[in-house]
Protein backbone atom coordinates (compact mmCIF):
# COMPACT_ATOMS: atom_id res chain seq x y z
CA UNK A 1 0.00 0.00 0.00
CA UNK A 2 1.42 3.38 -0.95
CA UNK A 3 1.78 6.01 1.82
CA UNK A 4 -0.33 8.50 -0.12
CA UNK A 5 -3.13 5.94 -0.31
CA UNK A 6 -2.77 5.14 3.38
CA UNK A 7 -3.17 8.85 4.20
CA UNK A 8 -6.07 9.18 1.80
CA UNK A 9 -7.82 6.18 3.35
CA UNK A 10 -7.36 7.53 6.90
CA UNK A 11 -8.54 10.93 5.72
CA UNK A 12 -11.73 9.37 4.33
CA UNK A 13 -12.35 7.70 7.69
CA UNK A 14 -11.88 10.99 9.55
CA UNK A 15 -14.29 12.69 7.16
CA UNK A 16 -16.72 9.81 7.37
CA UNK A 17 -16.97 9.99 11.18
CA UNK A 18 -17.05 13.74 11.54
CA UNK A 19 -18.46 14.10 15.07
CA UNK A 20 -15.96 11.61 16.43
CA UNK A 21 -13.10 13.36 14.66
CA UNK A 22 -14.10 16.77 16.02
CA UNK A 23 -14.38 15.38 19.54
CA UNK A 24 -10.86 13.98 19.48
CA UNK A 25 -9.46 17.11 17.85
CA UNK A 26 -11.04 19.08 20.67
CA UNK A 27 -9.58 16.87 23.40
CA UNK A 28 -6.12 16.84 21.81
CA UNK A 29 -6.37 20.56 21.09
CA UNK A 30 -7.22 21.41 24.69
CA UNK A 31 -4.28 19.35 25.92
CA UNK A 32 -1.78 20.98 23.60
CA UNK A 33 -3.23 24.46 24.15
CA UNK A 34 -3.01 23.95 27.91
CA UNK A 35 0.68 23.05 27.68
CA UNK A 36 1.42 26.03 25.44
CA UNK A 37 -0.60 28.48 27.55
CA UNK A 38 0.76 27.28 30.87
CA UNK A 39 4.38 27.27 29.74
CA UNK A 40 4.01 30.75 28.21
CA UNK A 41 2.74 31.89 31.56
CA UNK A 42 5.65 30.30 33.43
CA UNK A 43 8.22 31.51 30.94
CA UNK A 44 6.66 34.97 31.01
CA UNK A 45 6.93 35.08 34.79
CA UNK A 46 10.54 33.92 34.62
CA UNK A 47 11.56 36.51 32.04
CA UNK A 48 9.68 39.18 34.00
CA UNK A 49 11.61 38.41 37.18
CA UNK A 50 14.90 38.16 35.31
CA UNK A 51 14.29 41.54 33.69
CA UNK A 52 13.31 43.08 37.00
CA UNK A 53 16.53 41.94 38.60
CA UNK A 54 18.50 42.97 35.58
CA UNK A 55 17.14 46.50 35.92
CA UNK A 56 18.48 46.74 39.46
CA UNK A 57 21.92 47.50 38.21
CA UNK A 58 24.78 45.50 36.85
CA UNK A 59 27.27 43.32 38.71
CA UNK A 60 25.40 43.99 41.90
CA UNK A 61 26.39 42.55 45.26
CA UNK A 62 24.07 43.19 48.21
CA UNK A 63 25.26 43.20 51.80
CA UNK A 64 22.68 42.64 54.55
CA UNK A 65 23.17 42.65 58.28
CA UNK A 66 22.72 39.26 59.92
CA UNK A 67 23.77 35.85 58.74
CA UNK A 68 21.34 33.84 56.73
CA UNK A 69 21.48 30.12 57.29
CA UNK A 70 21.44 29.25 53.66
CA UNK A 71 24.11 31.86 52.90
CA UNK A 72 22.63 31.71 49.47
CA UNK A 73 20.14 33.66 47.56
CA UNK A 74 17.36 34.48 49.95
CA UNK A 75 18.02 36.20 53.24
CA UNK A 76 16.13 33.72 55.30
CA UNK A 77 16.18 32.57 58.88
CA UNK A 78 18.72 34.21 61.13
CA UNK A 79 20.57 31.99 63.48
CA UNK A 80 22.33 32.90 66.69
CA UNK A 81 21.98 36.14 68.54
CA UNK A 82 21.02 39.52 67.20
CA UNK A 83 23.77 40.50 64.80
CA UNK A 84 25.94 43.54 64.95
CA UNK A 85 24.67 46.49 62.88
CA UNK A 86 26.21 47.46 59.59
CA UNK A 87 27.54 50.99 59.82
CA UNK A 88 28.53 53.69 57.40
CA UNK A 89 32.17 53.07 58.36
CA UNK A 90 31.74 49.41 57.38
CA UNK A 91 30.41 50.55 54.03
CA UNK A 92 33.23 53.01 53.41
CA UNK A 93 35.80 50.38 54.36
CA UNK A 94 34.61 48.24 51.45
CA UNK A 95 36.17 50.76 49.06
CA UNK A 96 39.54 49.17 49.88
CA UNK A 97 38.68 46.16 47.71
CA UNK A 98 40.11 46.25 44.19
CA UNK A 99 37.17 44.24 42.91
CA UNK A 100 34.67 46.93 43.94
CA UNK A 101 33.90 49.96 41.80
CA UNK A 102 31.15 51.70 43.75
CA UNK A 103 29.20 51.34 46.95
CA UNK A 104 25.83 52.71 47.98
CA UNK A 105 24.96 52.36 51.67
CA UNK A 106 21.20 52.52 52.32
CA UNK A 107 19.18 53.71 55.28
CA UNK A 108 15.43 53.33 54.95
CA UNK A 109 12.56 54.80 56.90
CA UNK A 110 9.23 56.52 56.53
CA UNK A 111 8.64 60.16 57.09
CA UNK A 112 5.95 62.85 56.76
CA UNK A 113 6.99 65.13 53.96
CA UNK A 114 5.59 68.66 54.23
CA UNK A 115 5.32 71.28 51.50
CA UNK A 116 3.42 74.27 52.80
CA UNK A 117 0.19 72.81 54.11
CA UNK A 118 0.47 69.57 52.15
CA UNK A 119 1.69 66.46 53.92
CA UNK A 120 2.44 63.07 52.52
CA UNK A 121 3.84 60.00 54.20
CA UNK A 122 6.66 58.67 52.04
CA UNK A 123 9.45 56.13 52.23
CA UNK A 124 12.69 58.04 52.75
CA UNK A 125 15.93 56.58 51.48
CA UNK A 126 19.33 57.75 52.67
CA UNK A 127 22.24 57.07 50.35
CA UNK A 128 25.21 58.56 48.50
CA UNK A 129 25.90 59.97 45.04
CA UNK A 130 27.08 56.56 43.87
CA UNK A 131 23.63 55.06 44.31
CA UNK A 132 22.61 56.54 40.97
CA UNK A 133 25.12 54.43 39.06
CA UNK A 134 24.93 51.36 41.28
CA UNK A 135 21.18 51.17 40.76
CA UNK A 136 21.26 52.42 37.15
CA UNK A 137 18.88 55.22 38.06
CA UNK A 138 17.94 58.10 35.78
CA UNK A 139 17.24 61.65 36.86
CA UNK A 140 14.48 63.38 34.90
CA UNK A 141 15.08 66.91 36.15
CA UNK A 142 18.00 68.53 37.96
CA UNK A 143 20.71 66.23 39.32
CA UNK A 144 21.30 63.44 41.79
CA UNK A 145 22.84 63.76 45.28
CA UNK A 146 26.21 65.60 45.07
CA UNK A 147 29.56 63.88 45.48
CA UNK A 148 30.56 64.76 49.03
CA UNK A 149 31.84 63.22 52.24
CA UNK A 150 29.03 60.83 53.15
CA UNK A 151 29.54 61.66 56.84
CA UNK A 152 28.39 65.22 56.14
CA UNK A 153 24.72 65.87 55.62
CA UNK A 154 23.81 68.45 52.98
CA UNK A 155 20.19 69.69 53.13
CA UNK A 156 19.26 68.46 49.65
CA UNK A 157 17.01 65.72 48.27
CA UNK A 158 15.93 63.93 45.10
CA UNK A 159 12.25 63.06 44.89
CA UNK A 160 10.26 60.55 42.88
CA UNK A 161 8.05 61.66 40.01
CA UNK A 162 4.85 60.76 41.82
CA UNK A 163 5.89 62.49 45.03
CA UNK A 164 6.68 65.61 43.00
CA UNK A 165 3.29 65.53 41.35
CA UNK A 166 1.46 65.07 44.63
CA UNK A 167 3.33 67.68 46.61
CA UNK A 168 3.81 70.32 43.96
CA UNK A 169 1.09 69.60 41.43
CA UNK A 170 1.85 71.45 38.23
CA UNK A 171 4.36 73.69 40.00
CA UNK A 172 8.10 73.39 39.44
CA UNK A 173 9.57 71.25 42.24
CA UNK A 174 13.24 71.95 41.51
CA UNK A 175 14.75 74.43 43.94
CA UNK A 176 11.78 74.28 46.31
CA UNK A 177 12.13 73.29 49.93
CA UNK A 178 10.45 70.37 51.63
CA UNK A 179 10.36 69.50 55.31
CA UNK A 180 10.73 65.99 56.70
CA UNK A 181 10.24 65.83 60.47
CA UNK A 182 12.15 68.88 61.73
CA UNK A 183 14.67 69.05 58.88
CA UNK A 184 14.43 70.99 55.66
CA UNK A 185 15.74 69.82 52.27
CA UNK A 186 15.98 71.57 48.95
CA UNK A 187 14.78 69.59 45.94
CA UNK A 188 17.74 69.28 43.54
CA UNK A 189 16.42 66.50 41.34
CA UNK A 190 13.37 64.53 40.26
CA UNK A 191 13.95 60.84 39.55
CA UNK A 192 12.82 59.42 36.23
CA UNK A 193 9.92 57.01 36.25
CA UNK A 194 11.39 53.56 36.85
CA UNK A 195 8.61 51.73 38.63
CA UNK A 196 8.83 48.94 41.11
CA UNK A 197 12.06 47.10 41.72
CA UNK A 198 13.20 45.06 44.68
CA UNK A 199 10.68 46.44 47.10
CA UNK A 200 10.97 50.10 46.20
CA UNK A 201 8.99 52.14 43.83
CA UNK A 202 11.42 54.90 42.88
CA UNK A 203 8.46 57.03 41.81
CA UNK A 204 7.28 57.24 45.39
CA UNK A 205 10.41 57.86 47.45
CA UNK A 206 12.47 60.75 48.68
CA UNK A 207 16.25 60.29 48.58
CA UNK A 208 18.41 62.27 51.01
CA UNK A 209 22.13 62.12 51.88
CA UNK A 210 22.85 59.15 54.12
CA UNK A 211 24.00 61.20 57.12
CA UNK A 212 20.75 63.18 56.97
CA UNK A 213 18.71 59.98 56.95
CA UNK A 214 20.70 58.61 59.89
CA UNK A 215 19.99 61.78 61.85
CA UNK A 216 16.34 61.79 60.78
CA UNK A 217 15.71 58.27 61.92
CA UNK A 218 18.19 58.48 64.78
CA UNK A 219 20.07 55.36 63.79
CA UNK A 220 23.58 54.29 62.87
CA UNK A 221 22.44 51.04 61.36
CA UNK A 222 22.38 50.58 57.61
CA UNK A 223 19.46 48.77 55.98
CA UNK A 224 21.90 47.29 53.47
CA UNK A 225 24.87 48.15 51.30
CA UNK A 226 24.69 47.94 47.54
CA UNK A 227 28.06 47.13 46.00
CA UNK A 228 28.94 47.25 42.33
CA UNK A 229 31.76 44.91 41.29
CA UNK A 230 34.18 46.14 38.64
CA UNK A 231 33.08 43.47 36.20
CA UNK A 232 31.07 40.31 35.98
CA UNK A 233 34.21 38.25 36.57
CA UNK A 234 34.98 40.25 39.72
CA UNK A 235 31.65 39.53 41.41
CA UNK A 236 32.98 36.53 43.31
CA UNK A 237 36.10 38.43 44.38
CA UNK A 238 33.97 41.37 45.48
CA UNK A 239 31.80 39.04 47.52
CA UNK A 240 34.71 37.43 49.36
CA UNK A 241 36.41 40.83 49.87
CA UNK A 242 33.20 42.14 51.44
CA UNK A 243 32.96 39.15 53.75
CA UNK A 244 36.62 39.46 54.76
CA UNK A 245 36.61 43.23 55.33
CA UNK A 246 33.42 43.11 57.42
CA UNK A 247 34.67 40.09 59.38
CA UNK A 248 37.84 41.97 60.31
CA UNK A 249 35.82 45.01 61.34
CA UNK A 250 33.37 42.88 63.36
CA UNK A 251 36.01 41.18 65.48
CA UNK A 252 36.06 38.02 63.42
CA UNK A 253 32.30 37.48 63.43
CA UNK A 254 30.76 36.48 60.14
CA UNK A 255 27.55 38.36 60.77
CA UNK A 256 26.56 39.66 57.37
CA UNK A 257 24.90 38.04 54.43
CA UNK A 258 26.34 38.82 51.04
CA UNK A 259 24.18 37.98 48.12
CA UNK A 260 25.01 38.47 44.49
CA UNK A 261 22.53 39.46 41.88
CA UNK A 262 23.74 36.50 39.85
CA UNK A 263 22.89 34.06 42.62
CA UNK A 264 19.46 35.59 43.18
CA UNK A 265 18.78 35.54 39.49
CA UNK A 266 19.98 31.98 39.12
CA UNK A 267 17.77 30.90 42.00
CA UNK A 268 14.67 32.57 40.63
CA UNK A 269 15.53 31.26 37.22
CA UNK A 270 15.78 27.73 38.60
CA UNK A 271 12.62 27.97 40.66
CA UNK A 272 10.54 29.39 37.86
CA UNK A 273 11.90 26.97 35.31
CA UNK A 274 11.06 24.09 37.61
CA UNK A 275 7.63 25.57 38.19
CA UNK A 276 7.04 25.93 34.45
CA UNK A 277 8.11 22.34 33.90
CA UNK A 278 5.85 21.16 36.70
CA UNK A 279 2.76 22.93 35.40
CA UNK A 280 3.62 21.81 31.89
CA UNK A 281 3.66 18.28 33.23
CA UNK A 282 0.26 18.79 34.81
CA UNK A 283 -1.07 20.19 31.55
CA UNK A 284 0.44 17.21 29.75
CA UNK A 285 -1.81 14.97 31.84
CA UNK A 286 -4.72 16.34 29.83
CA UNK A 287 -2.88 14.99 26.80
CA UNK A 288 -2.79 11.58 28.40
CA UNK A 289 -6.52 11.90 29.02
CA UNK A 290 -6.94 12.71 25.35
CA UNK A 291 -4.88 9.60 24.65
CA UNK A 292 -7.25 7.47 26.69
CA UNK A 293 -10.14 9.02 24.78
CA UNK A 294 -8.44 8.06 21.53
CA UNK A 295 -7.98 4.51 22.76
CA UNK A 296 -11.63 4.27 23.74
CA UNK A 297 -12.79 5.72 20.44
CA UNK A 298 -10.50 3.40 18.51
CA UNK A 299 -11.73 0.36 20.40
CA UNK A 300 -15.27 1.35 19.55
CA UNK A 301 -14.18 1.90 15.96
CA UNK A 302 -12.75 -1.61 15.76
CA UNK A 303 -16.10 -3.02 16.87
CA UNK A 304 -18.08 -0.65 14.65
CA UNK A 305 -15.93 -1.33 11.63
CA UNK A 306 -15.62 -5.08 12.14
CA UNK A 307 -17.13 -5.83 8.77
CA UNK A 308 -15.02 -3.26 7.00
CA UNK A 309 -11.89 -4.76 8.56
CA UNK A 310 -13.04 -8.26 7.60
CA UNK A 311 -13.68 -7.03 4.08
CA UNK A 312 -10.25 -5.40 3.82
CA UNK A 313 -8.66 -8.65 4.90
CA UNK A 314 -10.72 -10.62 2.39
CA UNK A 315 -9.55 -8.17 -0.26
CA UNK A 316 -5.95 -8.97 0.65
CA UNK A 317 -5.00 -6.49 3.40
CA UNK A 318 -2.20 -7.86 5.59
CA UNK A 319 -2.27 -7.50 9.39
CA UNK A 320 0.43 -4.86 9.07
CA UNK A 321 -1.69 -2.84 6.66
CA UNK A 322 -4.69 -2.94 8.99
CA UNK A 323 -2.52 -1.81 11.93
CA UNK A 324 -1.03 0.97 9.83
CA UNK A 325 -4.48 2.20 8.82
CA UNK A 326 -5.51 2.69 12.44
CA UNK A 327 -2.18 4.20 13.45
CA UNK A 328 -2.26 6.61 10.52
CA UNK A 329 -5.71 7.68 11.59
CA UNK A 330 -4.47 8.30 15.12
CA UNK A 331 -1.41 10.24 13.95
CA UNK A 332 -3.55 12.43 11.69
CA UNK A 333 -5.87 13.11 14.62
CA UNK A 334 -2.94 13.97 16.87
CA UNK A 335 -1.34 16.27 14.32
CA UNK A 336 -4.67 17.96 13.68
CA UNK A 337 -5.28 18.31 17.41
CA UNK A 338 -1.77 19.65 17.96
CA UNK A 339 -2.27 22.23 15.22
CA UNK A 340 -5.57 23.32 16.76
CA UNK A 341 -3.93 23.41 20.20
CA UNK A 342 -0.93 25.45 19.06
CA UNK A 343 -3.26 27.93 17.37
CA UNK A 344 -5.52 28.26 20.41
CA UNK A 345 -2.46 28.47 22.68
CA UNK A 346 -1.04 31.31 20.56
CA UNK A 347 -4.35 33.18 20.72
CA UNK A 348 -4.46 32.74 24.51
CA UNK A 349 -0.86 33.97 24.73
CA UNK A 350 -1.63 37.06 22.69
CA UNK A 351 -4.71 37.80 24.80
CA UNK A 352 -2.65 37.49 27.98
CA UNK A 353 0.05 39.69 26.47
CA UNK A 354 -2.54 42.38 25.77
CA UNK A 355 -3.97 42.17 29.28
CA UNK A 356 -0.54 42.22 30.97
CA UNK A 357 1.85 44.02 28.64
CA UNK A 358 4.58 44.09 31.30
CA UNK A 359 4.98 40.31 31.27
CA UNK A 360 6.73 38.87 28.23
CA UNK A 361 4.50 35.83 27.61
CA UNK A 362 6.31 33.49 25.26
CA UNK A 363 5.92 29.73 24.99
CA UNK A 364 9.42 28.24 25.31
CA UNK A 365 10.67 26.39 22.23
CA UNK A 366 10.83 23.09 24.07
CA UNK A 367 7.13 23.30 24.91
CA UNK A 368 6.26 24.09 21.29
CA UNK A 369 8.07 20.90 20.32
CA UNK A 370 7.17 18.71 23.29
CA UNK A 371 3.42 19.36 23.24
CA UNK A 372 2.80 18.19 19.65
CA UNK A 373 5.34 15.37 20.07
CA UNK A 374 3.57 14.19 23.24
CA UNK A 375 0.24 14.37 21.42
CA UNK A 376 1.50 12.18 18.59
CA UNK A 377 3.30 9.74 20.87
CA UNK A 378 0.30 9.29 23.20
CA UNK A 379 -2.01 8.88 20.22
CA UNK A 380 0.23 6.17 18.76
CA UNK A 381 0.76 4.41 22.09
CA UNK A 382 -2.94 4.35 22.92
CA UNK A 383 -3.83 3.14 19.42
CA UNK A 384 -1.40 0.23 19.42
CA UNK A 385 -3.74 -2.08 21.32
CA UNK A 386 -6.90 -1.29 19.29
CA UNK A 387 -4.89 -1.52 16.05
CA UNK A 388 -3.55 -4.94 17.04
CA UNK A 389 -7.01 -6.10 17.91
CA UNK A 390 -8.24 -4.98 14.48
CA UNK A 391 -5.35 -6.69 12.71
CA UNK A 392 -6.11 -9.96 14.49
CA UNK A 393 -9.79 -10.09 13.58
CA UNK A 394 -10.79 -13.30 11.88
CA UNK A 395 -12.19 -12.19 8.50
CA UNK A 396 -14.80 -14.95 8.30
CA UNK A 397 -16.30 -14.02 11.64
CA UNK A 398 -15.96 -10.30 11.00
CA UNK A 399 -17.88 -10.63 7.74
CA UNK A 400 -20.63 -12.88 9.05
CA UNK A 401 -23.64 -11.39 10.75
CA UNK A 402 -22.98 -13.31 13.96
Amino acid sequence: MRSADLLEFAWQVLRGYRARTLLILLAMGIGVAAVVAVTSLGEGARLYVVNQFGSLGTNLVIVLPGRSETAGAMPGVLIGKTPRDLTLEDALALKRSHAIRRIAPLVVGTGDVHVGARVRETPVLGSTAEMKDVRSMEVALGRFLPEADPRQSAPVCVIGAKVAAELFGARQALGEWIRIGDRRFRVIGVAAKQGQSLGFNTDEIVIVPIAAAQALFNTEALFRILVEAKSREQIAAAKSDVEEIIRLRHEGERDVTVITQDAVLATFDRILRALTLAVAGIAAISLAVAGILIMNVMLIAVTQRRREIGLLKALGATARQVRLMFLTEAVLLAIGGAAVGLAVGQIARQLAAQLYPAIPFEAPWWAMLAAPATAVITAVLFTLAPARRAARLDPVQALSRR
Binding site: L315, G316, A319, V396
Partner: protein, 225 residues
Protein backbone atom coordinates in the same frame (compact mmCIF):
# COMPACT_ATOMS: atom_id res chain seq x y z
CA UNK B 1 -6.07 -25.59 -10.27
CA UNK B 2 -7.87 -26.11 -6.96
CA UNK B 3 -7.35 -29.50 -5.32
CA UNK B 4 -8.83 -30.22 -1.89
CA UNK B 5 -8.07 -33.54 -0.25
CA UNK B 6 -9.71 -34.74 2.97
CA UNK B 7 -10.51 -31.24 4.20
CA UNK B 8 -11.87 -31.16 7.75
CA UNK B 9 -13.20 -28.09 9.53
CA UNK B 10 -14.61 -28.28 13.04
CA UNK B 11 -15.92 -25.48 15.22
CA UNK B 12 -16.31 -25.71 18.95
CA UNK B 13 -19.58 -24.12 19.98
CA UNK B 14 -20.41 -24.14 23.68
CA UNK B 15 -18.19 -27.16 24.32
CA UNK B 16 -19.72 -29.11 21.43
CA UNK B 17 -17.86 -30.00 18.27
CA UNK B 18 -19.56 -28.94 15.05
CA UNK B 19 -18.06 -30.64 12.00
CA UNK B 20 -18.75 -28.09 9.29
CA UNK B 21 -16.69 -29.96 6.69
CA UNK B 22 -16.15 -33.73 6.89
CA UNK B 23 -13.33 -34.87 4.68
CA UNK B 24 -14.15 -32.91 1.54
CA UNK B 25 -12.35 -33.91 -1.68
CA UNK B 26 -12.75 -31.55 -4.60
CA UNK B 27 -10.91 -30.74 -7.79
CA UNK B 28 -11.78 -27.62 -9.76
CA UNK B 29 -10.14 -26.92 -13.11
CA UNK B 30 -9.36 -23.48 -14.48
CA UNK B 31 -12.32 -21.82 -16.18
CA UNK B 32 -15.00 -23.98 -14.55
CA UNK B 33 -18.37 -22.56 -13.56
CA UNK B 34 -19.50 -24.39 -10.47
CA UNK B 35 -22.52 -24.00 -8.18
CA UNK B 36 -22.79 -25.29 -4.62
CA UNK B 37 -26.25 -25.94 -3.23
CA UNK B 38 -27.55 -27.58 -0.09
CA UNK B 39 -29.57 -26.96 3.06
CA UNK B 40 -28.71 -24.28 5.52
CA UNK B 41 -25.80 -25.25 7.75
CA UNK B 42 -24.49 -27.86 5.36
CA UNK B 43 -21.10 -26.12 5.13
CA UNK B 44 -21.36 -24.30 1.80
CA UNK B 45 -19.98 -20.98 3.09
CA UNK B 46 -17.32 -22.76 5.10
CA UNK B 47 -16.14 -24.54 1.97
CA UNK B 48 -16.13 -21.34 -0.05
CA UNK B 49 -14.15 -19.48 2.64
CA UNK B 50 -11.69 -22.37 2.72
CA UNK B 51 -11.15 -22.19 -1.02
CA UNK B 52 -10.87 -18.38 -0.78
CA UNK B 53 -8.08 -18.76 1.83
CA UNK B 54 -10.10 -16.88 4.47
CA UNK B 55 -10.16 -19.97 6.65
CA UNK B 56 -7.77 -22.85 7.37
CA UNK B 57 -8.67 -26.53 7.52
CA UNK B 58 -8.13 -28.55 10.71
CA UNK B 59 -6.97 -31.43 8.56
CA UNK B 60 -6.46 -32.19 4.88
CA UNK B 61 -4.47 -30.47 2.14
CA UNK B 62 -5.23 -27.66 -0.24
CA UNK B 63 -3.18 -27.28 -3.40
CA UNK B 64 -3.60 -24.12 -5.43
CA UNK B 65 -1.89 -24.17 -8.83
CA UNK B 66 0.19 -27.07 -7.56
CA UNK B 67 1.38 -25.31 -4.38
CA UNK B 68 0.39 -26.45 -0.91
CA UNK B 69 -1.18 -23.33 0.62
CA UNK B 70 -1.99 -24.83 4.04
CA UNK B 71 1.62 -24.10 5.03
CA UNK B 72 1.49 -20.38 4.25
CA UNK B 73 1.36 -17.78 7.05
CA UNK B 74 -1.41 -15.18 7.35
CA UNK B 75 0.38 -12.45 5.42
CA UNK B 76 1.30 -14.80 2.60
CA UNK B 77 -2.33 -15.93 2.45
CA UNK B 78 -3.42 -12.29 2.30
CA UNK B 79 -1.15 -11.73 -0.70
CA UNK B 80 -2.40 -14.83 -2.52
CA UNK B 81 -5.97 -13.70 -1.79
CA UNK B 82 -5.22 -10.28 -3.18
CA UNK B 83 -3.72 -11.65 -6.41
CA UNK B 84 -5.95 -14.65 -7.10
CA UNK B 85 -9.31 -14.46 -5.32
CA UNK B 86 -12.30 -12.24 -5.95
CA UNK B 87 -15.10 -12.31 -3.37
CA UNK B 88 -18.74 -11.40 -3.93
CA UNK B 89 -20.97 -11.42 -0.85
CA UNK B 90 -24.69 -11.61 -0.22
CA UNK B 91 -24.66 -8.28 1.62
CA UNK B 92 -22.33 -6.60 -0.90
CA UNK B 93 -19.98 -5.38 1.87
CA UNK B 94 -19.28 -2.04 0.28
CA UNK B 95 -17.62 0.65 2.42
CA UNK B 96 -20.42 3.16 2.86
CA UNK B 97 -18.28 6.28 3.16
CA UNK B 98 -16.45 5.58 -0.10
CA UNK B 99 -17.77 6.15 -3.62
CA UNK B 100 -18.40 3.28 -6.02
CA UNK B 101 -15.12 4.04 -7.76
CA UNK B 102 -13.19 4.10 -4.47
CA UNK B 103 -14.76 0.78 -3.46
CA UNK B 104 -13.75 -0.79 -6.75
CA UNK B 105 -10.23 0.57 -6.34
CA UNK B 106 -9.72 -0.84 -2.82
CA UNK B 107 -7.96 -4.10 -3.78
CA UNK B 108 -5.65 -2.19 -6.13
CA UNK B 109 -4.92 0.34 -3.37
CA UNK B 110 -4.05 -2.48 -0.96
CA UNK B 111 -1.81 -4.02 -3.62
CA UNK B 112 0.02 -0.71 -4.02
CA UNK B 113 -0.73 -0.27 -7.70
CA UNK B 114 0.15 3.20 -8.91
CA UNK B 115 -2.66 5.70 -9.51
CA UNK B 116 -2.20 5.93 -13.29
CA UNK B 117 -2.62 2.19 -13.76
CA UNK B 118 -5.51 2.23 -11.28
CA UNK B 119 -7.38 4.90 -13.21
CA UNK B 120 -7.06 3.00 -16.46
CA UNK B 121 -8.35 -0.24 -14.92
CA UNK B 122 -11.11 1.62 -13.08
CA UNK B 123 -12.43 3.20 -16.29
CA UNK B 124 -12.62 -0.21 -17.94
CA UNK B 125 -14.29 -1.88 -14.94
CA UNK B 126 -16.88 0.91 -14.64
CA UNK B 127 -17.87 0.60 -18.30
CA UNK B 128 -17.66 -3.22 -18.33
CA UNK B 129 -20.16 -3.48 -15.47
CA UNK B 130 -22.49 -0.72 -16.63
CA UNK B 131 -21.45 1.77 -13.95
CA UNK B 132 -19.87 4.42 -16.17
CA UNK B 133 -22.01 7.25 -14.76
CA UNK B 134 -22.12 5.90 -11.20
CA UNK B 135 -18.45 6.08 -10.22
CA UNK B 136 -18.92 9.10 -7.96
CA UNK B 137 -22.00 7.75 -6.16
CA UNK B 138 -21.95 6.33 -2.68
CA UNK B 139 -23.49 2.90 -1.98
CA UNK B 140 -26.58 4.45 -0.37
CA UNK B 141 -27.25 6.30 -3.63
CA UNK B 142 -27.18 3.06 -5.63
CA UNK B 143 -29.76 0.29 -6.13
CA UNK B 144 -29.10 -3.21 -4.79
CA UNK B 145 -28.26 -4.49 -8.27
CA UNK B 146 -25.84 -1.63 -8.84
CA UNK B 147 -24.23 -2.28 -5.45
CA UNK B 148 -23.67 -5.92 -6.36
CA UNK B 149 -22.20 -4.90 -9.71
CA UNK B 150 -19.82 -2.57 -7.86
CA UNK B 151 -18.89 -5.53 -5.65
CA UNK B 152 -18.26 -7.73 -8.69
CA UNK B 153 -16.20 -5.01 -10.36
CA UNK B 154 -14.20 -4.77 -7.11
CA UNK B 155 -13.71 -8.55 -7.10
CA UNK B 156 -12.48 -8.38 -10.71
CA UNK B 157 -10.16 -5.40 -10.26
CA UNK B 158 -7.01 -7.44 -9.63
CA UNK B 159 -7.79 -9.85 -12.47
CA UNK B 160 -8.32 -12.83 -10.13
CA UNK B 161 -8.16 -16.47 -11.23
CA UNK B 162 -11.14 -17.43 -9.05
CA UNK B 163 -14.43 -15.64 -8.31
CA UNK B 164 -16.13 -16.80 -5.11
CA UNK B 165 -19.74 -15.70 -4.81
CA UNK B 166 -21.67 -16.57 -1.64
CA UNK B 167 -25.38 -16.12 -2.40
CA UNK B 168 -24.76 -13.04 -4.57
CA UNK B 169 -28.46 -12.81 -5.44
CA UNK B 170 -29.74 -13.65 -1.95
CA UNK B 171 -30.48 -10.02 -1.21
CA UNK B 172 -31.85 -9.02 -4.60
CA UNK B 173 -35.22 -9.34 -6.31
CA UNK B 174 -35.63 -11.83 -9.14
CA UNK B 175 -34.99 -9.41 -12.01
CA UNK B 176 -31.92 -7.80 -10.49
CA UNK B 177 -30.73 -11.27 -9.54
CA UNK B 178 -30.88 -12.31 -13.19
CA UNK B 179 -28.96 -9.19 -14.10
CA UNK B 180 -26.18 -10.04 -11.65
CA UNK B 181 -26.10 -13.63 -12.90
CA UNK B 182 -25.62 -12.33 -16.43
CA UNK B 183 -22.59 -10.41 -15.17
CA UNK B 184 -21.12 -13.52 -13.51
CA UNK B 185 -21.68 -15.46 -16.70
CA UNK B 186 -19.78 -12.79 -18.58
CA UNK B 187 -16.90 -13.23 -16.12
CA UNK B 188 -17.01 -16.96 -16.79
CA UNK B 189 -17.07 -16.48 -20.56
CA UNK B 190 -14.01 -14.23 -20.24
CA UNK B 191 -12.17 -17.22 -18.78
CA UNK B 192 -12.78 -16.78 -15.04
CA UNK B 193 -13.26 -19.70 -12.67
CA UNK B 194 -16.54 -19.06 -10.86
CA UNK B 195 -17.72 -20.76 -7.65
CA UNK B 196 -21.27 -19.87 -6.73
CA UNK B 197 -23.10 -20.74 -3.51
CA UNK B 198 -26.88 -20.41 -3.72
CA UNK B 199 -30.16 -21.62 -2.31
CA UNK B 200 -32.05 -20.89 -5.49
CA UNK B 201 -32.16 -23.90 -7.90
CA UNK B 202 -32.84 -21.62 -10.84
CA UNK B 203 -29.75 -19.56 -10.08
CA UNK B 204 -27.76 -22.74 -9.50
CA UNK B 205 -28.82 -24.10 -12.87
CA UNK B 206 -26.75 -21.42 -14.61
CA UNK B 207 -23.65 -23.39 -13.69
CA UNK B 208 -22.12 -26.13 -15.84
CA UNK B 209 -21.14 -28.17 -12.79
CA UNK B 210 -23.41 -28.53 -9.75
CA UNK B 211 -22.35 -29.68 -6.30
CA UNK B 212 -24.75 -30.64 -3.55
CA UNK B 213 -23.71 -30.58 0.09
CA UNK B 214 -25.35 -32.15 3.09
CA UNK B 215 -23.91 -32.14 6.60
CA UNK B 216 -20.45 -31.00 5.62
CA UNK B 217 -19.97 -33.47 2.81
CA UNK B 218 -20.36 -33.27 -0.97
CA UNK B 219 -23.15 -35.73 -1.82
CA UNK B 220 -23.47 -35.12 -5.53
CA UNK B 221 -21.35 -33.59 -8.26
CA UNK B 222 -22.96 -33.40 -11.69
CA UNK B 223 -21.83 -31.80 -14.93
CA UNK B 224 -24.14 -30.52 -17.69
CA UNK B 225 -23.18 -29.22 -21.07
Amino acid sequence: MIRLTGIERTFVVGGEMVRALRGVDLHVARGEYLSIMGPSGSGKSTLLNMIGLLDRPNAGTYELDGHDVTALDDDQLARVRREMMGFVFQFFHLVQRLTAAQNIELPMVLAGIDPGERRARLERLLSDYGLADRGGHRPDQLSGGQCQRVAIARAMSMGPSVILADEPTGNLDRRTGQEVMAVLEQVHRDGGTVLLVTHDPEIGSHAKRRLRMVDGAIVSDERVD
